[in-house]
Subunit: 186 residues, 2 copies
């Protein structure tokens, strides 16, 4: 164990992320992160401003990771295929890391970094020739659907043993069909 642990803000956030994965958002404490880092709790204050700051940073990383996944998933596809790929990537991320779902509905995830994700969604929707306000409304429909499904699934919010993949497939069909045919337009 070196006298200097060589921590950085980034490493602290990464450890925070793994604590969230292990123990849930409620389990994210400076004490646990410090233990994982092999460091005394107050030492973390050299890298982050406190627990709220850590939570915010972790939320930003999660949103950025999710955005990257989604962005990669829609490269080279368009139209219904792109929407399906986007939805699948979003859901897969939360299936893989269910404890991170709670971080996606919080102020930091809701504002600036969220704009990158929105940009990806809007890009996908250009395949439907949607622009301006139309595209914003459509983006909200799309994100609501996939976020709702993935959040409820991550929280274990679906009882019954019916196949979740099948439910999600139907959601995707309904959303793609609705967006493609312009359902809901004035």
């Amino acid at each position: 164990m070196p006298r200097r642990a060589g921590l950085t803000a980034q490493k602290v956030v990464e450890l925070g992320l793994s604590v969230v994965d292990d123990a849930g958002l409620d389990g994210l404490s400076l004490a646990r992160v410090a233990e994982a880092a092999g460091v005394a709790t107050p030492s973390l204050y050299k890298h982050v401003a406190g627990l709220p700051d850590l939570r915010e940073r972790v939320a930003r990383v999660v949103l950025a990771e999710l955005t990257d996944r989604v962005r990669e998933a829609v490269i080279g596809v368009s139209g219904d295929d792109a929407v399906r790929a986007l939805m699948h990537a979003y859901r897969s991320y939360l299936v893989e890391f269910p404890n991170r779902a709670a971080l996606l509905v919080s102020p930091p995830a809701a504002t600036e970094p969220g704009e990158d994700l929105l940009a990806v969604v809007l890009a996908v929707l250009r395949g439907y020739r949607l622009e301006g306000s139309e595209a914003i409304h459509a983006a909200r429909v799309l994100r609501s659907s996939v976020h709702g499904f993935a959040s409820l699934e991550a929280a274990g919010g679906f009882g019954y043993r019916e196949d979740l993949d099948e439910s999600f497939r139907r959601l995707a069909v309904i959303v793609t069909t609705g967006l493609r045919t312009g359902a809901g337009l004035p």
Copy 2:
């Protein structure tokens, strides 16, 4: 101030609910509830088993309230009207009490009490002649959509100034159309 405060578990939970409304789920602490009740913190343990128990009870009450609202909203209507009424009631509840959204994705809200809400959703879907597995999948689609929209709205997750009512209206049209026309069925 009477020597006996005359607390009950129900009153403790109600105070917990108002603390959540004022200060968010993170702000829910036994200390605050005790203060609101005019009582010392340990006294609460005569009525609830601790903070996790209080959170669970509050979550159950919220889900029950939401279910009641939704149930009332769909009385006497059917088909698309019923689905729209259900979605509107769900969203309105979270617009009125945004801090309660976080309680709807948690184990207690996800299991038994959630079945009552599911039952209402399934009843509404009978207007589409959906039964058995078909109805379960459709219920998931419906709940995902409305829950996702309402959660993101409650968290302030929608930037841009486009009219949220209009976005929600389009979501409703897409969902009702999709369910009515059987989109997504094999």
